[in-house]
Symmetry: C2
Subunit: 193 residues, 2 copies
DNA sequence: GTGTGCATGTAATGAGTTACATGATTAC
DNA sequence: GTAATCATGTAACTCATTACATGCACAC
């Protein structure tokens, strides 16, 4: 369960869906897994060489000289299954927005409101993105055995974003939601219902 | 914007609420900010020495010899305000559960279901924790100017967890939920308790 | 012929965790 | 007295990002 093998998992998983070059793999991770995963070049290239040495992937010469497409070997698929079965590694949380709001007394209600409005707007944009992708994959990948799983990860994003919108709205109300730019002193709230 | 200053922010913020030793600060970050922030010893001690050199915190001899409590200087408070105003640093996502589900075809529906059930159970436990903390702070910190901000961060956790429960339930249904271990009928939207 | 995109890789750098070494104090 | 907790600090290590160096191919 070292963190290292998390990258391995993403790489083998990506290649298991479709053989491709390292460059394309990185693009795919950015575009497709982007909402919940990230890998950089500095990870992917060394990891691929290592996977090749272990016989978990093979490189075959692609159309263009100098470029090579990787694909997963049967042993690699076995390894992937193994990795996927390992317990989820929890990454230590680092939620900058919440940290700022926690110290909101220092920052003042005005700036806190701005932070919340921005976060809400972002969440709204994210939902639109997710729904667009959902429509796309439902059409393009109709019938694919991967489709339900792709939909599940998308759904997670949508649920999370919706929750953030509700939360931000509630928090704004708690801070005394005047949507004007004017400076209002923090009116003490009545005891919460 | 450098990530480094994120630790500074957490440290100054923590000390701004109450002067304490480095050890106590770490405990506080673990217990109080734990849901959305983390710092380790290896970060805190060097950062504190640096902050002291910059005159942003001062150490005063505490009750016990060999231990010293830190408190924020006026300059430190100014710096904190500055840091809090800087744009939120987005950390690259690394969501192990979603990665596994995305490759769910490899893992198979059975193991995916298990993952979802575990995630849902965890979210339920988290909600109970948050609600316990909420009751506690409403009582202990009643009237404190920090209270509304603490409640906002707690509320974020509760909303997020509720969303995860709903998502997991939906996903389980999508995968063909035979095991109704723990019945989760759609929760009617209600005003807060 | 030049800019953009595809493609590969290495080096520098920094962030952050963990383990270790050390010792005082408190509780039993 | 001894175990647990409080307390401080450093060193080693891992993980990951970013910048850099390089070059081909294709469109305009």
């Amino acid at each position: 369960m070292p963190r290292r093998s998390q990258s391995e998992m993403a790489i083998l998983g990506g290649l298991s869906m479709q053989p491709m070059t390292a460059y394309a793999l990185r693009e795919a991770i950015k575009d497709v897994l982007g909402h919940f995963w990230s890998e950089s070049f500095g990870q992917i290239y060394p990891a691929l060489s290592q996977l090749e040495q272990q016989g978990l992937v093979t490189r075959s010469h692609a159309s263009r000289p100098g470029s090579s497409a990787y694909s997963v070997t049967p042993a690699g698929l076995e390894r992937l299954r193994e990795l996927l079965s390992e317990p989820v590694v929890e990454t230590p949380p680092r939620h900058g927005l919440l940290l700022r709001l926690f110290f909101g007394r220092i920052l003042g209600p005005g700036q806190c409101r701005e932070l919340l409005l921005t976060a809400r707007a972002k969440a709204e944009r994210r939902i639109a993105e997710y729904e667009a992708i959902e429509r796309k994959v439902r059409e393009e990948d109709a019938g694919s055995p991967d489709l339900p799983y792709v939909l599940i990860t998308l759904s997670s994003g949508i649920h999370g974003s919706r929750a953030q919108i509700e939360w931000a709205t509630e928090a704004l109300a708690l801070l005394g939601d005047q949507t004007s730019a004017g400076n209002h002193p923090p009116r003490p709230k009545e005891s919460q219902p």
